[in-house]
């Protein structure tokens, strides 16, 4: 196939673009904004997905919940000892935790109970236990809070302590002993840590009961088998493995960016029409130019090629600028406004950082959604221009 690049033709195309400066700059700016918006959405979902999945990675492989009448229910701590007898299980820890709704600020705190001399199911907790003695905290009835929680509490003038309202209406005063940072902000921002006894007291949970049980299985190949064994032993439980969680995260974010893209199609289509219109409206200047080119011996193919170079250069530049500005927008400015679409469940309204995640597939994806569409819009107008009658336009 003969596809030699003609450098003079490319130079001519660049000059042609520069000659119609205002028109092309307008197209460039609009197209850059479009690609930037699209790229930013994919980058944000990529980052959040990464953040959540690394949270899942830090968790134990299996979570066991008791289900009663289709609802989550407290589970007996003795179940953990039974699970520990299954071959392949290295740890089974009953967790005591829950969400505490703080009406004043309209947020949910995750209140997590920690026992000092117990194997910690999270590395970040293990570090905390070294720093704070939860036995001691319990005797003083105090707690360690995440950064976001601390801010929310201070804004409600709870600077030294916090009053939890127990289910029977009485108050429990817990003093703030310290602030901690987690590995990822998404998990630690809304978290309050205190001893298990205190958590039980706040939620009115019986001794010997736990919220759920987390199971550590060191060999990833055995996770499925262990999960099915637990399910057989306790048919009234819901057994969730970390791979299930990962797949559902993937699904949720694919779905979110998919919906965004589906809406975005409208914008792309509109853009397609604008380009088609812009490219069709040739000024008499441009018509004369094409007429002269043909008169001095350019073939239709040459003009088509030159027009293709023009649209490719323009759209590829817009693509590059779009990608770069999206990277700046998401990772330097932390994607104001746009991020809110993707972060928003029962969480503290937090200020977590989007971690830098670079996936080359995003670049390809955005490429296929931008450059070919622009070029497609210019095919028919270019052909119209290229087949103009010489004698009609120069006359």
């Amino acid at each position: 196939m003969k596809n030699n690049l003609n450098l003079y033709l490319i130079e001519f195309a660049i000059n042609a673009l520069l000659r119609a400066k205002s028109k092309n700059i307008f197209i460039l700016v609009v197209f850059t904004l479009l690609t930037a918006l699209l790229t930013a959405v994919f980058l944000i979902t990529g980052s959040i997905k990464h953040e959540l999945q690394s949270t899942v990675d830090a968790l134990p492989q299996i979570t066991v919940q008791k289900i009663k009448a289709g609802r989550h229910y407290d589970i007996d701590t003795s179940v953990a000892d039974e699970i520990l007898t299954i071959a392949g299980v290295s740890e089974a820890v009953p967790r005591v935790w829950g969400y505490y709704y703080f009406e004043n600020a309209g947020v949910n705190f995750s209140v997590v109970g920690i026992e000092q001399y117990e194997a910690q199911y999270k590395d970040s907790f293990a570090k905390l236990v070294e720093k704070f003695d939860f036995e001691e905290l319990s005797s003083q009835s105090s707690m360690v809070v995440g950064r976001g929680v601390k801010e929310v509490m201070s804004s409600s003038y709870y600077k030294e302590y916090f009053n939890f309202i127990k289910p029977d209406g009485s108050l429990k005063k817990v003093t703030v002993a310290g602030v901690f940072d987690g590995d990822t902000e998404l998990e630690s921002n809304d978290m309050i840590l205190m001893s298990k006894e205190d958590v039980r007291e706040i939620f009115d949970m019986q001794e010997g009961k736990a919220t759920d049980i987390v199971v550590k299985v060191p060999n990833p190949e055995e996770v499925t088998t262990v999960a099915s064994k637990i399910k057989l032993m306790y048919p009234d439980t819901r057994v969730i493995s970390s791979t299930d969680l990962k797949i559902s995260y993937q699904n949720i974010f694919d779905y979110k960016s998919g919906v965004f893209l589906a809406l975005f199609v409208v914008a792309l289509f509109t853009f397609f029409m604008i380009i088609y219109d812009k490219a069709s409206g040739l000024s008499s200047e441009e018509k004369r130019e094409i007429g002269i080119l043909k008169a001095i011996g350019w073939r239709v193919d040459d003009i088509l090629k030159e027009k293709f170079y023009e649209s490719f250069i323009l759209s590829f530049l817009a693509y590059l600028f779009g990608i770069l500005s999206a990277f700046g927008f998401v990772y330097l400015l932390q994607a104001p406004l746009l991020r809110e679409i993707f972060v928003g469940y029962s969480q503290l309204k937090t200020s977590f950082e989007l971690p830098f995640v670079f996936e080359i597939q995003t670049l390809f994806l955005v490429f296929f959604l931008s450059v070919p569409i622009y070029i497609a819009a210019t095919i028919i107008p270019s052909w119209r221009a290229a087949t103009l009658e010489v004698d009609e336009v120069i006359r």
Binding site: I247, Q250, L304, Q361, L365, F368, P372, I379, I380, W383
Partner: protein, 319 residues
């Protein structure tokens, strides 16, 4: 239905292809019916202009389809993580009844569009455009294949059920499986390898003798033989695992995406090889495709041969 952005992107581009190829199809039919090179009518003059539009559209579609095919394979790999049981593209292809047909059709269409371009370049090189009717006749056929491909692709992505369990490549391509693929495992490895290298040897001989038709036919046979030997023999050395025969897994990052290189070499080599036959059919005697075909096929053979040899050097045994 999977609403992954990759799938949507493919569907959006497909709808653009559909729109434009429809235009090209209408123009092709008109040109095919009314083309008369010797006429000096207004109509013939208009047709000549329209042939440029049709050709540009077809070139555009081909230019996007080529990278999009790689992207499609990549997408199959990506959505395989969503399907229970699937570990690579094989599971996704097998998830619906249409997957394997779609893949074959996609490949075939790439070859068809490539041949169309060959025809086109031969056509516009000559001042009296000898093949214009022929190339648009050819496109009318190619358009139907393209149409089937686009419909099939939409149906396939639409009918993938995320909650349904699919088979993993380990079972799909196991030697004990009873599927159609198991037939190729009944072929003896030595026979298989003799066929593979014999075929390549013939190709070299035909290349030296410049037998164009035989060269093209040996290339056509080479696609089949190479793919079967890749699944049955060479693949196991890429994985260094005697039981793993999957032709998709080596497209993944664990094998440094080597599959993309392997398949590109094979398909480019055989495309140029068969192109030689097409050119010969039109009595245009040019040997340019010969060399390119030999280079790509040669590198392919060296690459897949290197895997077992390096394995043997490192471990001292064959799998």
């Amino acid at each position: 239905m999977i609403l992954a952005p990759e799938v949507l992107a493919i569907l959006i581009l497909n709808s653009i292809f559909l729109l434009f190829s429809l235009v090209a199809f209408v123009l092709s039919v008109r040109i095919f019916i009314k083309w008369d090179m010797s006429a000096t009518t207004q109509e013939q003059y208009g047709l000549e202009k329209q042939s440029f539009l049709a050709a540009t559209i077809i070139k555009y579609i081909f230019a996007i389809k080529l990278p999009l095919f790689l992207f499609f394979v990549f997408t199959l790999d990506k959505i395989s993580t969503l399907l229970t049981g699937a570990m690579c593209g094989a599971g996704v292809v097998d998830a619906t009844d249409y997957g394997s047909y779609l893949l074959i059709l996609k490949l075939m269409n790439l070859y068809l569009f490539g041949f169309w371009l060959t025809l086109h370049y031969l056509d516009i090189k000559s001042p009296n455009l000898p093949y214009t009717r022929l190339k648009f006749e050819f496109f009318i056929v190619a358009f139907l294949f393209l149409l089937v491909e686009i419909v099939l692709e939409g149906v396939m992505f639409g009918s993938i059920d995320i909650d349904k369990m699919v088979s993993c490549c380990g079972t799909l391509y196991s030697s004990s499986s009873t599927s159609a693929i198991s037939g190729i495992f009944s072929i003896d490895t030595t026979v298989m390898l003799t066929l593979f290298y014999g075929n390549f040897l013939f190709m070299v001989i035909f290349y030296m003798m410049r037998y164009q038709y035989l060269f093209a036919i040996s290339n056509l046979a080479f696609i089949v033989v190479a793919l079967i030997s890749l699944i049955q023999f060479f693949g196991t050395y890429i994985y260094e695992l005697p039981t793993h025969h999957c032709p998709f897994c080596f497209l993944q990052s664990d094998y440094y995406f080597v599959g993309y290189l392997i398949y590109s070499l094979l398909f480019l080599g055989t495309f140029y090889g068969m192109r030689v036959g097409v050119v010969k059919m039109l009595d245009e005697d040019r040997g340019k495709g010969f060399k390119l075909s030999m280079i790509f096929n040669g590198v392919y053979v060296v690459l897949v041969t290197a895997y077992p040899i390096f394995y043997f050097i490192r471990n001292g045994v064959w799998l």
